[in-house]
Symmetry: C2
Subunit: 341 residues, 2 copies
Amino acid sequence: MRATLMYAPGDVRVENVAAPRIEQPTDAIVRMVRTCVCGSDLHPYHSMDPTDGPARMGHELLGVVEEVGSGVSKVSKGDLVITSFHYQDATCVTCVEDFACACPAGGYLTECQAEVSRVPLADGTLTVMPVGEDQTEILPSLLTLADVYGTGHHAAVMAGVREGDTVAVVGDGAVGLLAVLSAKKLGAEQIILMGRHRSRTDLGREFGATEVVVERGEEGIQKVLELTGGRGVRAVLEAVGHMPAYEQSVGIVRPGGVISRVGVPQYSEAPVGFTSLFGRNIELTGSPAPVHEYVAELLPGIMDGTDDPGRVFDRTVGLEDVAEGYRAMDERESLKVLVTP
Amino acid sequence: MRATLMYAPGDVRVENVAAPRIEQPTDAIVRMVRTCVCGSDLHPYHSMDPTDGPARMGHELLGVVEEVGSGVSKVSKGDLVITSFHYQDATCVTCVEDFACACPAGGYLTECQAEVSRVPLADGTLTVMPVGEDQTEILPSLLTLADVYGTGHHAAVMAGVREGDTVAVVGDGAVGLLAVLSAKKLGAEQIILMGRHRSRTDLGREFGATEVVVERGEEGIQKVLELTGGRGVRAVLEAVGHMPAYEQSVGIVRPGGVISRVGVPQYSEAPVGFTSLFGRNIELTGSPAPVHEYVAELLPGIMDGTDDPGRVFDRTVGLEDVAEGYRAMDERESLKVLVTP
């Protein structure tokens, strides 16, 4: 079968690989209906060590179950299912009480940009969708449940966004835009989107952003302070992961506020001392999102047409052309690339 | 009048200074009944730049109001009052909605180890105590409301400590021990106190610690993991402020847990990346405590005899001997030193 392999920075190929098969009784084999390229796939696309390659790619998958192991009970052959980008059993004490992305039996999916994927711990990782694969219009929105929508939602949930809130979203990628949508759904009154790509920030406005700040650094901070009567925002949803985004977050959050990060940090240490966080009682939170847990909450709005998170996809390529999808996202020609079989 | 001055590391003197007087209509002049030496006073005692001295010292004060400015309405001459270590108006939007210790009109008290002090913004900073200065037995516990009790309580509150919770307290100073007491009052079931001073940890056990871990670093981390079935604790209350305490906190907190800092950080940057906080969904919170806001909650337990936070004072000196108090605390002969007129 055909699968995406990254050999080195900028070098993505689609090649023949052995078809996956059931290895554990908790596995499912899923035929891809839709997958996509993630902003986080661009990190290795920039800086991967070629000795780590060729590496299978992809962690977002909407597909049809072809086969399940003997220990799988919640999904069956023929079901249209969505994955979470992290697999987990969803039954252990870590999953139930602590944090699913730390499930001792779990891990991150890494092979979904392919014709067929093996999904471990299928009962805790897959959710059956209430439609068939022929309902093509809704498929992009369903696919966002595998990562970007749940991740944007997680940013807002961890920040405790509430009715009447004042929020800033740092980053106009797919996660940032869906953090805007989530903040809006949770009742935020003022939502300032910090980003400089006009087509993206326009979509952000449609998702609920009340203001857009294109400036960065100190200038961007001053702009946000102006827009909030000098107070800054109560909640920052940081959807980038680079240090300048962190520093910007510290600059725009008000005393007693919260910085909620869902951009995977590309740094190990950051300012957390008296002048940055401690002295002003700023909370730092956020993590990879336990998106499997959010499907039940987010799916109804998609099904009834209220929410259309699939609008973050602005280009579609076939699996054979996935390299073109990486290039387009890398060069900011495309916000997020949908991949069809 | 007599006041404490720090000239250089290890050089504390009591000298004559000009008596304070009302400078702003919101000021009060308070005659000291009890004050004390704080763990945070030991930071300059170790590392103060002598060119910054001589510096007035002290931010915890129980005293009797001698005079109030024309704009003060909540306290009157003759009242026994407790300060918060930070002064604030308690009426602005920052105080009411965000964080009192960021009050634009506020600041930190710095001159309370003296016969008489000027307290700015008296209405937002002083709370009248329901006893007279002759009720000497209860005075030490009341004095803890100015800082250490409210600060320990803040650590537990910001960590969201709740019924049945699993908590570790890092540090067996006065704040750490009162964080134990606060965690106990909020319903924590398991409270692991990390500290190595037997007399202090014994008091910690009386305040509610269920276990004591004397080991530090990796050994201490392993011990806490053992005591929690390998999971770590849901909430760490960090009452030290040095980097090893931060690292220890990261090591003992479970996925999805929280590190709540009230030890003033003696560092600017710290690990917050994927392997320390982000990947395991660890929240970092904490700050200087808005202790004025906690008086109403904590006072009843002191008045009815349920709580005796004043037990953290294990030595008393007169104001003229305050240098001896610094020395005793610095050499760990004393946990916390009470100062009488």
